[in-house]
Amino acid sequence: MATTDLLGRPTTEVEDELLALYGRCKALLERDDLTPCVRAGARAATVGLWNAVNDLGLEHEQLLDLGA
């Protein structure tokens, strides 16, 4: 888990929690045994968290390979 943002500044408690959730959602999307409804929900959650992670300058990456 990153402990600094893209500017090299220490992350806050909220940011750490956000990154942890984001990482878990991505990990879920990587599984190949998700039903359609689970995949759609996980994708929506990942995309939502991506925006927050990106806005806060914690990470900047693409999700295309995860289907998003």
Binding site: G57, Q62, A68
Partner: protein, 447 residues
């Protein structure tokens, strides 16, 4: 300013150095992505001798070649329908949109993934929140919801920030006016031209919009949202504050917005874009306050990376300190000033449609207008066709036409404008991008 002023306080209040560092970090990732996945950039980077690891400072951005609309169009022709810019095909996308096609040219076709689409709403949230839209608001979206991307991102941005969204959809203007009042809208989103059209229709219906619940207008789609006279007219007719925004299909959403302080310009969302302003002829950067062409690099849409895209928008950048809101984001003074090819040369005099509109909007009783350029022999003529408000007497028309011609001439080195009265309903009405300049000269001089 309190944190409630901003959608994203962390980056909206960054200092300039930190903002540049964030942009550089994102730029490196974007260039790596484009180099790895986009056939277009693989080719253009190679031709320019550019490799992403050359990006050591933000100034190294200029090592990248600029991208023109013509190159994008050529790419679409080379590999229809989306060209070589995208990093994946349509199977990876959830949306397909096109440019409006108002210029009669082949449209640009764009794709968005689920992540890209959600990001577009996010950009609108920066603007909506910045102008003061809050979850308690009821927002009416006067938009036809078609393949033109227009207000789609605003629609989802409203939902995201928690406002009550009323999608106007395709219906007559009269129906929209009634819904705005009946639904108790506090916010209305439309083009500047259509905001005026709605106000005209309301007057015909005997509806007093200034007495309605509408407090804010979110304008987009045309430069007129920042023309002071047009903005003042809209605000007067609606009894509401008007906030300008601007976006483009090529990036999918807005890149600038006016905050609630209304500083006479629009903030650039600089944590998501790098905006350069260059001399249109040389491509060299121009300084603060100088008009030049917008060149955009976007960190948003991943399926179509956009690096140094020449927009042909004319802007003048000023420092963030020009506004009292506390954002670290620079502004474009007067929003989008027009297009770099907007200027018309008539008998040696430069005529800018934006300036003409600014003059026309100072006159009451103008329902619609059109600027028409013709040529007789070797003599260029310029006429302003005006459709006055219904019922304007001949005497009042003559008085207004005389004053209008005088004001136009005084602003254009004495150039004579023929001011002609158009019949009621004769001139075209616009819901999206208004096109009020008609150049009928066979070989237009100066564009």
């Amino acid at each position: 300013m309190g944190a409630g002023e901003y959608w994203n306080p962390k980056t909206e209040t960054l200092g300039r150095d930190e903002l540049a560092a964030l942009q550089l970090a994102k730029l490196r990732r974007l260039c790596d992505w484009a180099a790895a996945r986009s056939p277009f950039y693989q080719r253009s980077f190679k031709q320019a001798g550019f490799e992403p690891d050359q990006l050591r400072t933000l100034d190294d951005l200029r090592r990248l070649p600029m991208l023109t609309r013509e190159e994008w169009m050529a790419s679409q022709g080379e590999q229809p329908p989306f060209g070589l810019l995208p990093v994946a095909g349509r199977e990876a996308a959830i949306r397909w949109h096109t440019t409006s096609g108002t210029t009669g040219r082949e449209p640009i076709r764009v794709l968005d993934t689920a992540k890209d689409w959600a990001w577009q709403a996010e950009m609108w949230c920066y603007g909506l929140w910045g102008f003061g839209v809050r979850p308690a608001d009821t927002a009416y979206v006067a938009f036809g919801y078609g393949s033109f991307i227009g207000f789609w991102g605003l629609h989802y941005g409203l939902e995201k920030l928690g406002a009550l969204n009323v999608p106007g959809g395709a219906q007559p203007t009269e129906g929209r006016v009634k819904q705005i009042v009946d639904f108790g809208a506090t916010v209305v989103a439309s083009t500047p031209t259509y905001a005026l059209r709605l106000a005209q229709e309301a007057e015909r219906l005997g509806v007093d919009l200034a007495a309605s619940g509408v407090q804010k207008l979110i304008l987009s789609g045309e430069p007129a949202g920042s023309i002071p006279q047009t903005k003042a007219l809209i605000e007067r007719l609606w009894g509401a504050k008007a906030g300008d925004t601007a976006g483009m299909t090529e990036i999918g959403t807005i890149m600038i917005f006016e905050c609630r302080h209304q500083p006479g310009g629009t903030h650039i969302i600089e944590d998501h874009y790098i905006e350069e302003v260059v001399d249109p002829a040389s491509g060299e950067p121009v300084g603060y306050g100088e008009a030049g062409e917008r060149v955009v690099t976007s960190f948003g849409r991943g399926i179509i990376p956009l690096l140094r895209y020449r927009t042909a928008d004319l802007v003048a950048r000023v420092p963030a300190s020009r506004c009292a809101c506390g954002r670290g984001f620079d502004l474009y003074e007067g929003g989008i000033l027009g297009r770099v090819d907007d200027m018309k040369l008539v008998r040696g005099t430069n005529v800018y449609p934006r300036a003409v509109e600014g003059i026309v909007r100072e006159f009451d009783h103008v329902e619609e207008f059109q600027l028409r350029l013709t040529r007789e022999g070797h003599f260029d003529k310029i006429a302003l066709r005006v459709e006055p408000a219904p019922g304007l007497s001949d005497a009042d028309w003559e008085d207004m036409a005389g004053r209008l011609a005088k004001a136009l001439a005084e602003a254009h080195e004495g150039l004579r404008f023929e001011v002609e009265r158009a019949a009621e309903g004769e001139l075209p009405r616009f819901e999206l991008k208004a096109r009020r300049t008609v150049d009928e000269r066979d070989t237009p001089i100066g564009g």
